[in-house]
Amino acid sequence: MRALHTAATGMMAQELNVQVISNNIANMRTTAYKRQRAEFQDLLYEHVSRVGAQTSSQGNVLPAGIELGSGVKTVGTPRIMTQGSLAQTGKDYDVAIRGEGFFKVTMPDGSTAYTRDGSFELDAQGRIVTANGNLIQPGITIPQNATGVTINAQGQVLVTQPGQTTQNQVGQIELSMFINKAGLKGIGDNLYLETPASGAPQNGTPQLNGFGDLQQGNLEQANVEAVSEISDLIAAQRAYEMNAKVISAADQMLSATSNLMR
């Protein structure tokens, strides 16, 4: 019974689909989370009778053959890297990217990771770090006596110090762009790593050369839309149930056959 196995692939695919959807819903309120979607494709077909085979000695040609498919497989769960909406927080070190680009983050082992999550803080030395305490690249240190910090759209970090009328620039936030953002590898903590599929990072300054601009006092929300996730969830659940029904049907047919011998 091929149908048994075909329906089993259908059930497995929908199970994975529900996993992806539930992760999206779980991260609805995660800063800068990018939703994923499960991509399915049909499996190979067995051609039981070949198209174009001759059906008689007069040379009649079979116009259509018998193709039996063998189910479905998951090809990938690409991230949909669309812009999330910006929510105002009013906090000085909250920075959202409006447009293309990722912040660069130095991991504890010295490697570089990328994130859209700009909920930054200062560490004890006054350096700008992510919420997990990882330094951003290039490192920026805020002087101890700074009374006000401005991060402008171009990523310049300006501080006001006592006794001075003008602001001093203490650093420049840089962004990285990838030709295939969907090919980045998510490692949790809102961080992504470069992969062979994503291509090499293109570094640059916000607002120039196609990079997005920075918005101080804002955070990017997840790009998950509750309504579409829930409707996908319903579709996935129903598809799962229908594949289970196919298995029962195939089972009934098998039992009808096996009951022939009494």
Partner: protein
Amino acid sequence: MQNTLLVGLSRQVVLRRELDVVANNIANVNTSGFKADGAVFEEFIGKTARSDNMSNRDRQVSFVRDRATWTDFSSGSMERTGNATDVAINGKGFFAVQTPGGERYTRNGGFLVDNTGQLVTSEGYPVLGENGPIQFQPNDVNIKISGDGTVSVAVAGNPGQESQRGKLRMVGFDNPAMLQKAGVGTFALKDGATPIPDTQSKFVQGSVEKSNVRSVVEMTRMIEITRTYTQVANMMQQQSDMRRTAIDKLAEVPA
């Protein structure tokens, strides 16, 4: 006597094949760009030793066999995703993709950009434009795909200026039955057929075409298949009971 069993068997073989087709449709109820299959049956007159020169002729025994599967090429529903590299087709056309096995055609437009900047399917096959694959530059942003397939991007560093990256091919066919399923959502063209350009269909950016499997229809077909199969099995059972009874009765030696 034997014919009942054999005719029943031919029906059961066909029903199993049909369930395989239905199972594949239901397995792909959420596969973007998938086209449902159906099965076609035909009567098959069995060749038997017959005598036709009596006043009551021998009746011919007809069996059933599956002749072909056909593909329903109607459009599935369109789901809006808002993703720039998702493209659906409004009309009868197809995308052309380059696979290791040659040119293939698909309705699944959930595309991605790979690490070399080419527009590819989720399998990684390049999507073909009118002059080969669509190639993006590393700092291209804001991909726009118009109704006729023109792919344009905003050029980094030159705000307001658009530059073209190619034009997607819209492939049509005189007769979609010339297409054969090749797995992974693609169709291959049977020998001797050639695609024709399609000027009627339109590309729709930011949408994906869902599977066109009508689940209600498939479920009812499935119920029909299982019921019929069980009935045929019962008929065969009765036939075999009848023979057993006949043998018992006829072989009874009167005391």
